[in-house]
């Protein structure tokens, strides 16, 4: 009962913070936006510059940050629970590096410039293919360790191919384009990116829906979970596909954004009594909040140009993760 009340309080706090951050995110940028005036213009007869900034730039950017951050947080919690490993990240089984490789291939061969959807579609195809490869490598009944090793191998190979393409890039301009994309950014996000992101994200979330209970059972070990009714081969297949779709969609649109999927579940786990099913929704909310905050942060930093949001999440995430490890080490957690 107390745990349920605590859980509700946590969700309300996160929900409130998300609403406030999203509203602030709409107003902050190189051009400060008076929100009320922009809304009046949007609903008026003749849209002005403020309404254009709001509907074409700020709303898509905020929504993409919210959806991509939620996917990263949620999928981080899913992968850590599925693999029973606190160091698992959403991209562990290949979705993030596969998406990067797919996107870089479209940039390298110039396909990205042919039509708007080429780069994200390439990224999603790469994410699905890499995850499928890791899954097949581990085998249908592959244990947790085999899955992790298969993921490590696929990641290493995908990143080696990205390096090869960078190495063979025809011009310094192409190298710069690939390298900047890989840093991860929401700066050039428009409505197109939002529509590209949405289907894979929603489908991925739908596949994760109501899978919390078998993830709880996995806490007791694979054999016990299986004896308690969890259909593990089906669960793994389903969640791998879900992560490939949701993370693949996010990375394809935003570029590589690190540490959110790793740090957010860690941060929230003690607050939900370490129970995997109770961690999923708060992790999604925490991921959304963190990416929106980071994206607002890069817009507020007084530097020439805009620092990439993927750089900021890693710069904050890595030391924070280190602090978490040191903090938990003392408690034996």
């Amino acid at each position: 009962m107390i745990a349920a009340i605590r859980q509700h309080r946590l969700m309300l706090s996160l929900g409130g913070a998300i609403v406030i951050t999203a509203l602030l995110s709409l107003t902050i940028g190189s051009q400060p936006l008076p929100l009320m005036q922009a809304l009046q213009e949007s609903f008026g007869e003749k849209p002005g510059v403020y309404s254009l900034i709001l509907t074409e730039l700020r709303i898509p950017r905020t929504l993409v940050a919210l959806l991509a951050g939620a996917s990263l947080g949620l999928c981080g919690a899913v992968m850590q629970s599925l693999l029973r490993n606190p160091l698992a990240s959403p991209g562990l089984v290949g979705s993030a590096s596969g998406a990067a490789l797919g996107a870089v291939i479209t940039l390298y061969f110039g396909v990205a410039g042919l039509f708007a959807y080429a780069l994200p579609l390439g990224g999603m195809a790469g994410a699905l293919l890499a995850t499928l490869t890791a899954y097949l490598l581990a085998g249908r009944d592959g244990g947790t360790l085999t899955l992790i090793l298969a993921g490590v191998a696929v990641n290493a190979f995908a990143l080696a191919l990205v390096s090869l393409l960078l190495n063979l890039a025809p011009s310094p301009y192409a190298v710069q384009e690939i390298a900047l994309w890989m840093l991860g950014s929401l700066a050039n996000v428009s409505r197109n990116e939002l529509w590209i992101l949405l289907p894979g994200t929603l489908l991925g979330w739908l596949l994760i829906w109501r899978q919390g209970r078998p993830l709880d059972l996995l806490t007791l070990g694979e054999e016990t979970a299986s004896s308690m009714g969890a259909d593990l081969p089906n669960l793994k297949r389903r969640l791998f596909l879900a992560v490939a779709l949701a993370v693949g969609s996010a990375i394809s649109v935003t570029g590589a954004i690190g540490f959110i999927g790793l740090v957010v579940p860690h941060l929230l786990r003690p607050l939900v009594g370490y129970q995997p099913s109770r961690l999923l929704l708060p992790s999604a909310m925490g991921g959304a909040l963190l990416l929106m905050l980071a994206d607002m942060g890069v817009r507020l930093l007084p530097v020439q140009g805009e620092i990439k949001v993927g750089v900021v999440t890693s710069l904050i995430g890595a030391p924070f993760f280190l602090w978490l490890i040191l903090h938990h080490r003392g408690r034996g957690v």
């Binding site: 007791l220 054999e223 308690m228 129970q275």
Partner: protein
Amino acid sequence: MSLLNGRALSLSRGQRPILKGVDISLQPGEMLGLIGPNGAGKSTLLRILAGVIEPDAGELTLDGQGVESLPHQARARRIAYLQQLSEIAWPMSVERIIELGRTPHLEPWQSVGDEDREIIDRVIRQTDLLAFRDRAFNTLSGGEQARVLLARALVTEPDILLADEPVSALDPAHQLDVMNLLRQHCESGHSVIVVLHDLSLAAHYCHRLQLLHQGTTLAEGSSETVLNEKNLADAYDIALTKANGNALKPTSLPWRRLHKDE
């Protein structure tokens, strides 16, 4: 008709046979002790009965129906499996871990209800875990953890409880408590198959024993039939010493819990 029936169960790992056509049966209300030396195939047999691994050959029926035709959750409601070594991934509280035992009775959208809560509270009292219910699992001693995992299996209220060495980490007093709990489970009409290394506990508590050796059944029946000098010499390569049989070296065996029997 037997509650659980296994016929000619066989399993190999590579070229190495682990089980070579073992038969096993279990009656309602019966406590069957699986004994035998390390590597005899006891744990493998239990894992097959739990549905965790599939045999290469053989047939397994529950109430005359093939176990493989049962949906996962329906099987889990009837057969609970207590693993020999279980590492809990996250430091969840004792109560939360025990609660998970009710999962086979819940639909995906259902949470633990009042009736489930009553069962959980009763089992927590039975297993002497009241003082630990809010503690994190990883802060408990090995023996306390073993009792939590037993409680998790008991709250499922399964027709058949399969327990793989449930007393190996416990002190003598708690060994007797656990064995008494398993017997109580049988007395309420359920059945238990328990893997044991302690032959005196097996003889004292089990209705029937099945002695496995090198993947086959060497002997099966009452403790008097199974635990004879020849069988123990063949299976374990040991000579038998009766308790108090040697006045110079009296053998001490945990036999009953003093303060609970008073």
